[in-house]
């Protein structure tokens, strides 16, 4: 089951980390509706990660809260893309758009996984993600086609995010096995489908994907190599839990 654990860990960590970053917009959103949107998505993402940690627990890993809050940054398997600071609303929106389309396509595929416990959860989650993707598409289009400043800021954010986003598709050690037993389509196939879906939406928003010759995926996150942003995030996220790990809340 090591191959399935690897897949579950990287997904659960992606969701936990972006969930925490989304929650950092609570109270700070540029308008009230966006404050609520990012807070709601935070709740969804953390709920999705909890469902995956629960499957891991059933496979013999620690129980969900302990797993989420008692590991050090170097034990996390999220892509580095998700741990980066929110920065401004432009970068947060671009990351939300690039990640959520990948997330939606990943869960769409896993809804047909041969590993039934994951397929069951994926069939539920993929419906919920529709709203995340709608939200991302609306704002990408609004800001990409807004005024000169909003357009320029979105393009800069897209350029800065791009190579990190490609790092989401970093392959793990068990890639071949996951594909062979029909657990998961594999990162390459997912990336191809992701590009096909996001390209026309980006074009419609009047933005440009960086030239292919400049693509250099930022790898390492899946193997525990992270930026210092993750230390900061993990410390903050787990601060309360670690005061009294066994406490009933």
């Amino acid at each position: 089951m090591e191959h399935i654990k690897e897949l579950l860990y990287k997904m659960a960590d992606d969701l936990l980390v972006i969930g925490h970053r989304n929650s950092e917009w609570t109270g700070l959103g540029p308008i009230l509706e966006e404050d609520i949107a990012f807070s709601s998505m935070a709740q969804d993402k953390i709920g999705h990660s909890q469902a995956l940690f629960q499957i891991l627990h059933e496979l013999g890993e620690p129980e969900p809260d302990t797993n989420a809050f008692m590991r050090e940054a170097k034990q996390f398997h999220n892509a580095q893309f998700l741990e980066l600071q929110n920065d401004d609303y432009d970068f947060s929106t671009i990351r939300h758009f690039l990640f959520d389309h990948a997330d939606q396509l990943r869960f769409d595929n896993l809804a047909n996984s041969s590993y039934e416990p994951l397929a069951k959860v994926a069939r539920k989650i993929k419906g919920e993600l529709k709203y995340h993707v709608f939200h991302a598409d609306i704002w990408l289009n609004k800001l990409g086609n807004g005024n000169e400043e909003s357009h320029a800021r979105m393009q800069t954010a897209l350029n800065n995010a791009w190579n990190y986003a490609l790092g989401m598709f970093e392959k793990g050690d068990y890639e071949a096995q996951l594909i062979a037993d029909n657990t998961f389509e594999g990162e390459q196939s997912l990336q191809n489908r992701w590009l096909a879906v996001i390209t026309p939406i980006i074009e419609k928003a009047n933005l440009k994907i960086p030239a292919e010759k400049d693509w250099e995926p930022v790898l390492g996150g899946r193997k525990g190599y992270h930026t210092e942003n993750l230390d900061q995030l993990v410390n903050e996220m787990s601060e309360v839990f670690r005061i009294e790990p066994g406490a009933e809340w």
């Binding site: 509706e33 609520i36 709601s40 709740q43 969804d44 419906g127 709608f134």
Partner: protein, 161 residues
């Protein structure tokens, strides 16, 4: 021995903690009731949204209700075996939402589109001349809308596949 039918009807008065006009049975989140012996009942539930923070509380409410009618051995669990989708709301459930001032989710055909989300029917005046303001609201299961005819904001219980 108590029958499954009697359990279902006993559970009809257990309400959604966030929408007090709506019962959990009408919401469609109780997916299985099994009488496993004398005074021994097993109930399965499924959340409307995976990240719903109320599900533990709802499990407890179901267990409390079963205790109230004298069941001694009670097991309530949450699973994704039969995942919830908004078409599982009963007709009475849809009416209850409306009574609470929430637009009921439109029936879907297995796919949620932007078209389905826009022009929801205003629960106050019945107009279709409405706009969706944001797909997110005060709880995960609601979106926010505005009626261009009666000039009031309203919330809709989201359609979900």
């Amino acid at each position: 021995m108590i029958t499954e039918k009697e359990i279902w009807s006993a559970l009809e008065i257990v309400k959604d903690p966030e929408i007090p006009t709506l019962s959990m049975v009408d919401m469609g989140i109780i997916t299985k009731v099994e009488v496993r012996g004398e005074s021994n009942v097993y109930v399965e539930m499924t959340p409307t949204f995976t990240g719903c923070p109320a599900i533990k509380m709802m499990e407890n409410m179901v267990a409390d209700r079963l205790k109230e009618i004298g069941i001694e051995t009670i097991q309530v669990t949450t699973t994704f075996d039969k995942p919830w989708n908004s078409n599982k709301l009963t007709e009475r459930g849809l009416m209850c939402l409306k009574k609470h001032g929430l637009a009921p989710p439109p029936k879907h055909e297995g796919e949620i589109t932007m078209e389905l989300l826009e022009h929801s029917i205003c629960p106050h005046c019945g107009s279709k001349n409405t706009d969706m303001k944001t797909p997110f609201g005060p709880t995960l299961c609601r979106s926010m809308h505005y009626c261009n005819d009666c000039l009031q904001a309203f919330e809709q219980f989201k359609p979900v596949v």
